[in-house]
């Protein structure tokens, strides 16, 4: 913190409780906010370049390495894109297994963020360890829920981090009925624990703020969307199919970030739980929908601080969906459908825990990837995060630097930013001049 010639500077060099490394720089001059920059300084990771020249079968394994928290999202979006390029649709029980695997990722990622990263903000703790000293039973519940999410990844994906059992066309091995049935008792416990989680976070003090940008997500058809073919926005201005993504969402470089910023042609936007919920709440499974209503969520939710409630509701939904799909499961005759290479372009999109994740691949007739484009949710959310921060700082200029800094960090964590994903990117600096 420095006060110099009417300048106020708040400086946090490394943002805490986020996935990866980044920073925020805020400058306030003569009581007016002049600069808000979310600095993503984690080095570029060049995954799109790595993929060029590789076989069409490799993206699920290569792109899973982009993130240890949400590898399934990368695997699913890449598989969908390659299969689209090759003219193959994976459906039936193989699609159901992908859905259960994705439920596991939502559970482990959302629970990690709710319990270990975000809840301490609302309850006034420096971190999860301090919170655990006062709320041992609650943190134990979170650890057990997270373990279940990891277990789903292990059983279907082969291991909890960077799953190895996913391939273009399906899986290398599919689980037996009994292997999935063994998960049911813990999933039934988890469903209730998730409901308890919704009740817990719904009681947190919520800052009164609503964003005015659009919210973009997959538009579900029969079920709350994990993977899909249609994209919609809450305003209704953006409605397009996944292959049209690049025509509507443009990426651009800014000097203070190694992650490209996403821009929607119809205006500012954000992706993530608020978008998914606001667009698809009618498709939530019954218990999750009832829990959302009990928590005070209505048709749209534009308060980013309430994203923690929506995440908890989505954990309920993931448990319900996993139980439903396991109950209907019968092993497919083959673990994967054949996918033969052909020259073409494919597009795939799925809902990573942090929001819409788009992949596009161009492959030649031999199945060699000639171009790859990956647009992660955190890249798309950078502008919205900076927008929120500007509003939060302007509305709270009377707060002392320490309190304002904490509020800024909480604001950033509303988006559960995955910096490593976005660089394919946190440190907070507020300058009051």
């Amino acid at each position: 913190m420095t006060h110099r010639n009417g300048t106020r500077q708040l400086d946090v060099q490394a943002l805490a409780r986020v996935e990866g490394e980044g920073a925020l720089h805020v400058t306030i001059t003569d009581g007016e906010l002049t600069t808000v920059e979310l600095n993503i300084y984690e080095p570029p990771r060049f995954f799109e370049a790595f993929l060029r020249g590789r076989s069409y079968t490799e993206p699920p394994d290569i792109t899973a390495r982009i993130c240890g928290i949400c590898p399934v999202a990368y695997q699913m979006s890449s598989c969908l894109a390659i299969e689209d390029a090759c003219g193959v649709v994976v459906d039936g029980q193989l699609a159901a297994l992908r859905h259960i695997l994705y439920c596991g990722e939502w559970i482990e990622s959302h629970v990690l963020h709710i319990y270990m990263l975000h809840a301490p903000d609302f309850l006034g703790y420096a971190g999860a360890i301090a919170m655990a000293q006062d709320h041992r039973g609650i943190v134990e519940r979170g650890l057990r829920l997270k373990k279940l999410g990891n277990r789903l990844l292990e059983v279907i994906g082969g291991r909890a981090i960077h799953p190895i059992n996913v391939r273009v066309g399906g899986f290398y091995r599919v689980p037996t009925v009994s292997e999935l049935a063994e998960l049911v008792p813990e999933l039934e416990w988890a469903r209730q624990a998730a409901l308890d989680t919704v009740e817990w976070v719904a009681g947190f003090p919520m800052p009164d703020y609503e964003g005015d940008w659009d919210l973009l997500a997959l538009a579900g058809e029969d079920h709350y969307p994990f993977m899909g073919s249609r994209i919609g926005s809450v305003s209704g201005r953006a409605q397009f199919s996944v292959p049209q993504f690049s025509a509507h969402v443009h990426e651009e470089h800014v000097a203070h970030s190694t992650a490209l910023h996403g821009r929607l042609d119809t205006g500012e936007y954000a992706v993530g739980p608020l978008a998914r919920y606001s667009l698809n709440q009618a498709l939530l499974p019954p218990l999750a929908r009832a829990a959302a209503a009990d928590a005070g969520l209505r048709g749209e939710c534009r308060n980013p601080f309430k994203s923690i409630i929506v995440r908890a509701v989505e954990v309920v939904a993931a448990c319900e969906e996993a139980l439903r799909l396991i109950g209907e499961y019968s092993p497919p005759s083959e673990p994967a459908v054949p996918v033969m290479p052909r020259s073409g372009v494919g597009h795939g999109a799925s809902e990573a825990p942090r929001g819409l994740l788009y992949h596009r691949y161009e492959i030649d007739s031999e199945g060699i990837i000639t171009s790859a484009t990956i647009v992660p949710p955190t890249s798309q959310n950078q502008r919205a995060i900076e927008h929120d921060l500007a509003h939060v700082v302007e509305a709270n200029l009377d707060l002392d630097d320490e309190t304002l800094t904490a509020r800024c960090e909480q604001t950033i964590r509303n988006y559960d930013p995955c910096i490593s994903c976005s660089t394919h990117f946190l440190d907070l600096r507020v300058v009051r001049l």
Binding site: A16, V18, G20, A126, I129, L143, I161
Partner: protein, 176 residues
């Protein structure tokens, strides 16, 4: 009675940072059956859940404290105190590891009776696979000694022996 649990932590694609997984592989190849051996990434919640219910746990990971490559550190996590390193509350998920796991375990009353950390000083943590010669030799030595150390730790009469030999470390581990 449960066997002593050995947890090897590290990233095999960053040369010497992969000594934890390499230890697990060498113990398996040696047919070691007196120990339960597992590999972990170092993620705190997973570590706490992994060691819960075990009485004697040995953690093995790479250390970069500026010491001579191959140097061995030993630290009693249950009874020692951290000398340095950023406080757990200010770390991103990529900077959290053994310190946070131990403190989370302590807050939840989930620390094993015996929780000892063994660290080997690294020489090369650049991209790539395989250990540097000095680290590999040191790891071989630890592989030979670990069963005996675990047996001694698991035996109540020998626990009075001070378990800390090296200076407490600012153990930091990155999750990829």
């Amino acid at each position: 009675m449960t066997r002593p649990l050995v947890i090897g932590i590290g990233n095999p694609y960053r040369h010497d940072d992969g000594l934890g997984p390499a230890l697990i592989e060498r113990l398996r190849l040696a047919g070691e059956d007196r120990l339960e051996i597992v590999e972990e990434t170092g993620e705190p919640a997973a570590l706490v859940q992994r060691w819960s219910g075990h009485g004697c746990v040995l953690l093995v990971d790479a250390v970069d404290s500026g010491g001579l490559p191959g140097g061995l550190h030993r630290f009693d996590c249950q009874r020692g105190s951290w000398r340095a390193g950023p406080p757990p509350a200010v770390l991103s998920t990529h900077g959290s590891g053994i310190v946070e796991a131990v403190e989370l375990g302590r807050a939840l009353d989930r620390l094993p009776d015996q929780l000892v950390f063994f660290g080997i000083e690294v020489e090369d943590t650049s991209d790539g696979v395989g250990l540097s010669p000095k680290v590999s030799v040191a790891l071989d030595s630890l592989v030979r000694e670990l069963p005996g150390i675990a047996s001694a730790l698991a035996t109540p009469a020998t626990r009075a022996t001070p378990a800390t030999r090296a200076t407490p470390l600012p153990c930091q581990e990155a999750q990829s």
